[in-house]
Amino acid sequence: MTDETMTDPTMTDQAARSEFHPRWYRERVSTWWWLGEWHYLKFILRELTSISVAWFVVLTLFQLRALLRGPEHYARFASRLESPFMIALNAIAFCFVMFHTITWFNLAPRAMPVRMGGKRIPEFLVAAPNYGLWIAVSAFVGWLILRTP
């Protein structure tokens, strides 16, 4: 076997074509590979939701800054959020964050196989506390905001 048949940049380490298979076909992966299948698209959407998460973090930081600067600044900040563009943007970002949260909670049991008494507990029992905590915290924040002073 010559050196030439052994070296193929598409193969790792010593894996290479043999003299019995001097040529083979390898398809290049398209840039748009994630558009063809719903499973792939769902994955890319889940990855993109991180932008929405980052957006809400930045928004919260700006909100805190406005709060620290006093009521006048905070009122201006609040009025900016009331523009139709911001409402639309936040509505879309909210949907993405929901998608992020739900898909993430559903994946949690796969990364954490919790065992009790030597047996793996059912997946929904690992996901359920996440949902429970989420609902409890949301309810508390809701109560904090909506209660009449």
């Binding site: 598409t10 193969m11 790792t12 380490d13 010593q14 894996a15 290479a16 074509r17 298979h21 001097p22 040529r23 083979w24 076909y25 390898r26 398809e27 992966v29 590979w33 994630w34 063809g36 299948e37 499973h39 792939y40 994955f43 990855e47 994946l107 796969r110 990364a111 954490m112 196989p113 030597g118 047996k119 793996r120």
Partner: protein, 255 residues
């Protein structure tokens, strides 16, 4: 006249073709036939040059994996009748692998990666035979049993976009098998595997698309194995910071 179904089969002859093309074959649509039966029918009765791998016909050998209508499938476990309403069933070689001929893929790259993760029992000490076998409780077996069901059919590689985009990525089956040995209480080799596994081409190459688990015919859950190892590797890294001296890398990968 019996019902028929059309198979569109990818054909590629390295000495003749630049790129693969599709050839149509009409085969009887029998209720009990799987895609592999149709391929065998074509090879026996229509075109003897059709090339593909198969052996056991019962989901054990893992050699008949192909893309059936764009999905990685064991053709011995995929019934033709479930495609009865389709105009045609497309059969292609497993995606992301180099094609040797027709439906046969080159496995050398996968085998190198598999070897890299050392999927066998590694012992630091070797107790004499007179001490008897290594005993294992059902609970200890249960920790890794799921990951040991892998038949190396490579369907998970054909499902994983990371495998297609990054050819250095070790890939789902090899990583799951590494975890299978890491979780085995008879094994003492997790530290040896650490360098290959906790690497950008190892577990950190995985973006958790989760397709490997969905297509696995043996319910191995490679995605789960990789995420679990990510967790132990991360905790191990934290521990090495907090306890640089007391840290024991030999336990890496074991919960």
């Amino acid at each position: 006249m019996a019902e028929k179904i059309v198979l569109e089969i990818a054909r590629y002859a390295p000495d003749r073709d630049e790129v693969p093309s599709f050839q149509k074959f009409e085969v009887p649509l029998r209720k009990e036939w799987v895609v592999l039966d149709a391929l065998n029918y074509i090879k026996d009765k229509v075109d003897g040059t059709l090339t593909y791998r198969w052996s056991c016909r019962m989901g054990i050998c893992g050699s008949c994996g192909m893309m059936v209508n764009g999905e990685p499938k064991l053709t011995c476990a995929t019934f033709l009748s479930s495609y009865g309403n389709n105009a045609a069933v497309r059969v292609e070689p497993l995606r992301y692998f180099p094609v040797v001929r027709d439906l046969v893929t080159a496995l050398s790259d996968f085998l190198v990666k598999l070897q890299k993760v050392k999927p066998w029992l590694i012992r630091k000490d070797q107790p004499p035979l007179s001490e008897g076998e290594f005993l294992q409780t059902p609970e200890q077996l249960d920790l890794y049993k799921q990951f040991s069901m892998c038949i190396n059919c490579t369907l998970c590689y054909a499902a994983c976009p990371v495998v297609g985009l990054d050819q250095e990525f070790v890939g789902p089956a090899a990583l799951a098998l590494a975890q299978r040995y890491n979780l085995d209480n008879r094994d003492q080799g997790s530290a040896e595997r650490l360098a290959t596994l906790a690497h950008p081409d190892g577990i950190w190459g995985c973006t958790f698309v989760g397709e490997c688990t969905r297509v696995c015919p043996k319910h191995v859950d490679p995605a789960g194995a990789i995420q679990q190892y990510k967790l132990t590797a991360a905790l191990d890294w934290v521990k090495s910071f907090i306890l640089p001296r007391g840290h024991n890398p030999h336990q890496a990968g074991r919960p």
